[in-house]
């Protein structure tokens, strides 16, 4: 996602709903990111259960990535409104570009809650996890 959000023109009705949060790649900031996630999801008419799913999903994705983040770098989270939900991409710079293991309990929880989940590696061994949560798809437990 390299496209920059254009400054809305006076009277423009369309604002691209994208928010990027950048913070130190340190687990001490997990709670801040959970709060930001809940705040953004609440803007999009997600139900309380869906907001909680996103909060846990982002937390799990970040905790996974932080274990391999290069010290002193940032964790970048991009939230983007899609037609029917929200896409969240979390990424960190790593030493070896290793994808998160999918046979862990954390991945099971993540994929159970976050809807579509995928992981990938970009330039500079930047590893990302992308969640795409759609509204109205949550089964009540």
């Amino acid at each position: 996602m390299t496209e920059e959000t254009a400054a809305p023109m006076p009277g423009a009705t369309e604002v691209r709903d994208a928010v990027t949060v950048k913070m130190p790649a340190d687990s001490a900031y997990l709670s801040v990111l959970r709060t930001a996630t809940a705040g953004l999801a609440a803007r999009l008419d997600f139900t309380l259960d869906e907001i909680e799913d996103l909060r846990i999903g982002v937390d799990e994705a970040c905790a996974m990535l932080l274990s391999q983040a290069l010290p002193g770098t940032d964790l970048t989270t991009e939230f983007e409104l899609t037609g029917d939900g929200m896409r969240i991409s979390v990424s960190v710079l790593t030493a070896d570009g290793r994808l998160p293991a999918r046979d862990t309990f954390a991945w099971t929880v993540l994929s159970a809650l976050a809807g579509e989940v995928d992981a990938g590696v970009g330039p500079d061994d930047r590893v990302s996890i992308v969640l795409h949560k759609r509204r109205g798809m949550t089964e009540s437990a």
Partner: protein, 116 residues
């Protein structure tokens, strides 16, 4: 940052009450409190983890609960979780740990369950 965790003993039962969020940062603190209780030379008969003050938990917290459950079982100690908030209880159900660990709505009930 660590979760604020209080411990009280009532008869043969130890009640552990964490407060706040239990995530990758704070869950090890819960493990550090539970380990010496479950590993004591002359252990208690039951442990209740009162979740009423926990607003968030994730897979790391569930991992601590499951390993504590196994430790307790191996030592013949009853272990239960009590009073989780709705969102936390929902995660327990999605993760399936309510099939493994006893979860009671009421802490007093849980204290009786672990001694049964």
């Amino acid at each position: 940052m660590s979760a604020d965790i209080s411990i009280r003993t009532e008869g043969d039962v130890v009640v552990v009450t964490p407060a706040g969020d239990l995530d990758a940062v704070t869950s090890p603190g819960l493990a550090a409190v539970l380990e010496p209780i479950l590993g004591a030379e002359d252990p208690c008969r039951g442990v209740v983890i009162d979740f009423s003050k926990v607003g968030f938990c994730d897979s790391r917290c569930i991992g601590v609960l499951v390993s504590s459950y196994r430790h307790a079982r191996d030592r013949g100690i009853g272990l239960a979780v009590s009073a989780p908030q709705r969102t936390v209880h929902r995660l327990f159900a999605i993760a399936g740990i309510d099939q493994v660990i006893t979860i009671e709505d009421d802490t007093q009930d849980a204290m009786e369950t672990v001694l049964a």
